[in-house]
């Protein structure tokens, strides 16, 4: 009855109710769009970084984060992998091996088919005199014309399993993906790599040329074209020397200049061979279901891992494992996001202040113009608390109608936009790319974007109703009816 009365009261002034509901509607649509784009762009960037770099969630040795070296890796264990895969909410597990190398490429340029520049001429002048034997000029000149150019840069190796590698196919801008079927190397011993085998493994590794995907800017700097051979040099597992030739099979654009300047993708087995670390992983990247509670999953991952020892000579112990989330691994990104979102909260607050005053106006009008009627109701025996409940219900209904219709409109719209993001163009797109964002207006469909708006509007409506409720609490029927 109270409900029916409140509902009918709403439609006493349909225009006012509709205008108020419409203002809430637009505010909710606007707010959800804003939040969705913001979350979407950040999610997109984080997804990008996370999918290419850290993963959402990862299992590693407890000491790895502090000092990211091969020696803090752990033994490849299929049973552990299977256990991790069977965790509820985990859809994929990808072991990897990461390390740092110097990547070098030597390029020879021939003077007669490149534009002769000063470097080439200087090189010619400095050619050893012994090469210039009289009577044998032609080959000597050819030798002199050939210029050698060495370029070296730090490369971050990511040795990836077949699936993880395949996921990066959409990043390929030139060349092709490594052929993994050919890479099943039965000669590699499974399990730990004791020191004694290092030489043999390394010898085999040196003989075999690996397959690599290079970040496009790294390849550019090294002047390495598709099919060129790049030398990777560094420190391997437990002091071994890491040395390997790799063929540049493809170039990848990782949507982030920093990644593009350093990343080298190798098949996991190639990376293990390079670092003389067969049977070693530095981490297992875990793929959660979308919008999972990562912290809960992280705890579960650590619990599962606690049954395993990272290395043969260690005990099984949860304290030896860590399962950082992307936010743990990229704290600066998380901070930047929070700062950015703090800024837009201000805009949201202004928006909500506006609709708050809109609702306040309506609720006040609804209360003040019915003072006489309220006086009659209290006079004939309606408790003020019941009257207040009725008015609160009226105010809430207007607001929630607006909010519900607003969500009903924005949910499908935002889902559509999320499925079909708007590409950015021109300088804006360049700026986005520079900062590692995909140049698209990405929309997020995270559920909390929507219910948060609903809760906010409901809270505003309640707060705004406080004043009329206070007035009703003090209402004296005689005064109310005298004032008419």
């Amino acid at each position: 009855m109270l409900l029916r009365l409140a509902w009918r009261n709403l439609w006493r002034n349909p225009r006012r109710t509709l205008i108020t509901a419409a203002s809430v509607f637009f505010a909710v649509v606007l707010a959800t769009f804003m939040s969705s784009v913001q979350e979407g762009v950040w999610d997109n960037m984080i997804d990008n970084l996370v999918s290419l770099q850290t993963g959402q969630l990862r299992l590693e040795r407890a000491n790895y984060r502090e000092e990211q070296v091969l020696d803090n890796g752990f033994e490849a264990q299929d049973a552990l992998l299977a256990d991790l895969r069977s965790i509820d909410g985990i859809t994929g597990v990808h072991p990897r091996l990461e390390g740092v190398v110097l990547a070098s490429h030597t390029r020879y340029t021939t003077a007669d088919n490149t534009t002769p520049d000063s470097t080439a001429r200087d090189a010619l002048a400095e050619a050893p005199a012994a090469a210039r034997t009289p009577g044998d000029r032609t080959p000597a000149v050819r030798a002199e014309a050939r210029t050698r150019e060495d370029r070296t840069r730090i490369g971050l190796i990511q040795g990836l399993d077949a699936k993880a590698l395949a996921l990066r196919v959409d990043r390929l801008v030139a060349g092709r993906m490594p052929d993994l079927s050919a890479d099943v190397d039965k000669t590699q011993p499974q399990g730990a790599s004791p020191e004694g085998q290092l030489d043999a493994a390394q010898a085999r590794g040196a003989r075999r040329t690996g397959q690599a995907l290079l970040g496009k800017e790294l390849a550019e700097y090294l002047r390495a074209d598709l099919g060129d051979t790049v030398v990777l040099l560094g420190q391997g597992y437990r002091g071994a020397i890491a040395a390997q030739l790799v063929v540049v099979l493809g170039l990848v654009d990782l949507g982030n200049p920093e990644l593009n300047r350093a990343t080298i993708y190798l098949p996991l087995a190639d990376a293990q061979r390079l670092f003389a670390a067969s049977g070693l992983w530095t981490g297992v990247v875990l793929e959660p279901e979308p919008y999972s509670n990562l912290d809960a999953l992280s705890a579960e991952v650590r619990r599962v891992a606690s049954a395993y020892a990272p290395l043969d000579q260690l005990e099984a112990d949860a304290a030896l494992w860590a399962s950082p989330t992307w936010a743990d691994m990229l704290p600066e990104i998380q901070q930047a996001r929070e700062a950015d979102e703090g800024g837009s909260i201000l805009v949201l607050i202004i928006l909500y202040l506006l609709i708050g005053f809109g609702i306040l106006g309506t609720v006040l009008m609804m209360t003040l113009e019915r003072r006489y009627e309220f006086g009659v109701l209290v006079a004939v025996g309606m408790r003020r608390s019941r009257l207040a409940a009725m008015v609160l219900l009226e105010g809430l209904s207007v607001s929630l109608i607006g909010a519900v219709v607003g969500l009903a409109a924005s949910i499908p719209l935002i889902h559509y936009m999320a499925a079909n993001p708007i590409p950015l163009e021109g300088s804006l797109a360049e700026t986005y790319e520079q900062y590692g964002f995909d140049p698209v207006f990405a929309f997020s469909t995270a559920p909390d974007i929507f219910w948060r708006q609903f809760i906010t509007v409901a809270l505003i409506a309640m707060v705004v109703s406080a004043y009329p409720l206070y007035r009703i609490g003090k209402l004296e029927p005689v005064e109310a009816m005298r004032a008419g």
Partner: protein, 258 residues
């Protein structure tokens, strides 16, 4: 619902032939209007027995509305007491007073008594609803009351579709729905034409005769005054006269106030 009100309603009045429903003792109500002190009601003492049909009469500004507000517990006296069925209203807290009104007093105001978004029937049922009367009983009683005020065919109409006289009749029906000890009506006919006014008075008088409903209404309309069995005249907030008449003779046998 209100046990205090109910138990006092059951309390014996001490009279054998007539039950005392209302009693005021030296009632005073003053208003401070700037520097001016207005004695709207001064030293009013009188009693109402169950079944009386009383008019409070006086020119505009004589204190009729103020007095009725005090009697109905809508206003508090500056001095003196109002006792209804033995309960002193000043002893009740604000929320208790609302419940007391709901269960013991029916109200009819000069105009705009009804909730505009409810039908005539829903308006009549409203106080029963507040009392927690169940739906079938509400329906039975509202039908009965609407018939008593001659509006059975208008039951589903909203107030805006009713004439002023019809609206006041619905208000009377609503006032009776909660089975109050008495009905207070402040100038119920003031906004009505004489035909409607007379029809309303007919209904009130009939309810008084047949059901024994106690009515206390204010008016300054001579034709309405003529229908009353007892006429209390106010002059400047004081009782000037209190006349009881024979129901059969519409005469003016004046008796001095006690």
């Amino acid at each position: 619902m209100n046990t205090a009100a109910r138990s006092s309603a059951a309390a014996p009045s001490g009279h054998t032939h007539a039950e005392l429903v209302l009693e005021t003792v030296n009632l005073d109500r003053t208003f401070q209007n700037g520097p001016e002190r207005i004695h709207a009601v001064s030293d009013v003492s009188f009693r109402v027995q169950r079944g009386e049909f009383t008019a409070i009469v006086g020119p505009s500004g004589s204190g009729k509305t103020t007095l009725l507000n005090l009697l109905g517990g809508l206003d508090s006296p500056s001095d003196g007491h109002v006792r209804i069925l033995g309960t002193d209203l000043s002893a009740l807290k604000a929320s208790e007073r609302v419940d007391f009104r709901l269960h013991n007093i029916g109200f009819v105001f000069q105009a705009y008594n009804l909730i505009p978004v409810l039908s005539a029937r829903e308006n009549v049922e409203f106080t029963m609803l507040l009392q927690g009367v169940d739906a079938s009983e509400r329906h039975r009683r509202s039908s009965e009351l609407l018939e008593a005020v001659g509006l059975s065919s208008e039951a589903e109409r909203r107030p805006t579709k009713l004439s002023g006289g019809q609206q006041q009749r619905v208000a009377v029906a609503r006032a009776l729905a909660s089975k109050p000890a008495f009905v207070l009506a402040d100038e119920p006919t003031a906004n009505l034409d004489s035909t409607s006014a007379s029809a309303l008075l007919d209904i009130m008088a009939r309810l008084n005769e047949r059901e024994g409903t106690t009515f206390l209404f204010s008016t300054h309309d001579q034709r309405v005054i003529d229908r009353a069995r007892r006429v209390v005249t106010l002059v400047d907030g004081r009782i000037d006269s209190d006349d009881r008449r024979d129901p059969d003779t519409a005469g003016t046998a004046k008796t001095n106030p006690a």
